[in-house]
Amino acid sequence: MDLYKLTIEQAAAKLKAKEITSVELTKSILDRIEKVDGQVKAFLFIDREGALAQAKEADKRLATEKDGPILLGVPVAVKDNICTKGVPTTCASKILNGFVPPYDATVIKALKGEGAVIVGKTNLDEFAMGSSTENSEKQVTGNPWDLKRVPGGSSGGSAASVAADEAIGAIGSDTGGSIRQPAAFCGVVGLKPTYGLVSRYGLVAFASSLDQIGPLTKNVTDAAIMLQAITGHDTSDSTSLEYQPPNYLDSLKKGIKGLKFGIPKELFGEGCQDEIRDSIQNMIKLIESLGGEVAETSLSTFEYALPAYYIIAPAEASSNLSRFDGVRYGHRAKDAEGMIDSYKKTRAEGFGSEVKRRIMLGTYALTAGYYDAYYGQAQKVRTLIIKDFTDAFEKFDLLISPTTPTTAFEIGAKTDDPLQMYLSDVCTIPSNLAGIPAISIPVGLAGGLPVGLQIMGKHFDESTILSAARALEKEVDFKITPELAG
């Protein structure tokens, strides 16, 4: 049997039953990476030595711990904007060339504590800014379903690694859809938790009020397992909330019966592919057949979410990225004349085009004279979007929509037109602005490419999202079967 094909749940069962060892499983994954990553290019760094050492440790624990953590001995991949002690962390940017973090992000500490094996760091759009992973300064990742197409982004490497069986599960980050959109494009499950549920300490900040770390997995059960492992209050992140999470695995059993689903019609707007609309219609019928109620609703402020996001996110980014100045870490330009010149040249050489564009945009939106018209107004729009959600959640338990208006597009199709690229996040952005949790699950294929269904819930109601997602997943029975040569 090909061990790399296992889900977290299956792998954990085999490890605990001593049918396999973590070293065997990890070797299987590393061999799989060696075989297919030349085509997929999901990884920026493969930590063969470190992974095997961690696997050996896990096997020791498996031999002695009777009821060890579920992730004990399971190989996972990590997006390369999350700090890993002693392992390069580049954000797919030249400006972090050579940077080796002296500490682990809180989520990495949590994963290591559980005994998960970290096999490597995955590709992303530089500093997580993008929707296709083409903005990586390192390499272009292919979608395992069609290598000529993008895997989505910005967690494209994490999504592709899971779809191509190069990791049993993965961790990504989501600022405007960066977990859910690539999950949809690659036919895997991607969950963005409630803002503040998972610590952001050690996640290289893009837009601090929107960023959230979450899992990308082969199925909903695995997402619940990974979420449980990384959730928890952290004093190192002042926006991390004191909240006692429920047992997410238990909540998977609740099903759909009696749940009320709302469909915001604004998320089915023009630009939504017919096949995607059909796929979602089928899901509506399925929900009804399982005893759920579905009704259309209108959240009129949603059409302002994308423009508000493209003020707020760049504004926060322009401030966050000022730390990359070539003083304490990363690239520094040679032959600069004085300090200011050193900053300017370092940043000009170190940042790629999309990052520069967003820094410029954000700086502009924050300058005196434009602040009120752009940033101030965008923050007020954010208040109205949150109110729209709050009102909707008085009537509905969950909201559903397509995760993306189209299936995965071809590499190069949108690189010259930033606005077109931004539009692929139109369905995912509102949840980031409101800080609510949302999942994308694969619900079918259109033209041979995966289609994602997005399910959004109330703050901290990951349980209901997961239970509905699991109920649908059981019926849909989506198979991750990209045809990869090799």
Binding site: P102, G330, G338, L361, Y364, Q377, A378, G435
Partner: protein, 93 residues
């Protein structure tokens, strides 16, 4: 609305970015396009609406000002492009 080359140069200086002539032209055009799209938010009536900086109600988080176990000097300096003794080395200010 249209952003001039001078404005782009001013913003680039504030952002500490050296831009080529080609980039200046490209960004002037693209920022125009993006801001025109973003300008849609002006349509919404937001009179009396409070701005949201944070989606969830988080208030100030305080803790005791105690010295914890932090990075030691060598670890903190290990990634520095240049160092002088126990400090980061930088070009002349």
């Amino acid at each position: 609305m249209s952003i001039s080359k001078e404005e782009v140069e001013h913003i680039a200086l504030l952002a500490r970015l050296e831009l080529s002539e080609t980039e200046k032209e490209l960004f002037a055009r693209q920022l125009d396009q993006i801001l025109e799209h973003a300008g849609k938010i002006e349509e919404l009536d937001t009179k009396g609406v409070e701005p949201t900086a944070h989606a969830l109600p988080v208030v100030n988080v305080f803790r005791e000002d105690k010295v914890g176990k932090e990075l030691d000097l060598e670890a903190a300096l290990a990634n520095a492009p240049d160092r002088e003794d126990d400090s980061f080395g930088v070009p002349k200010i």
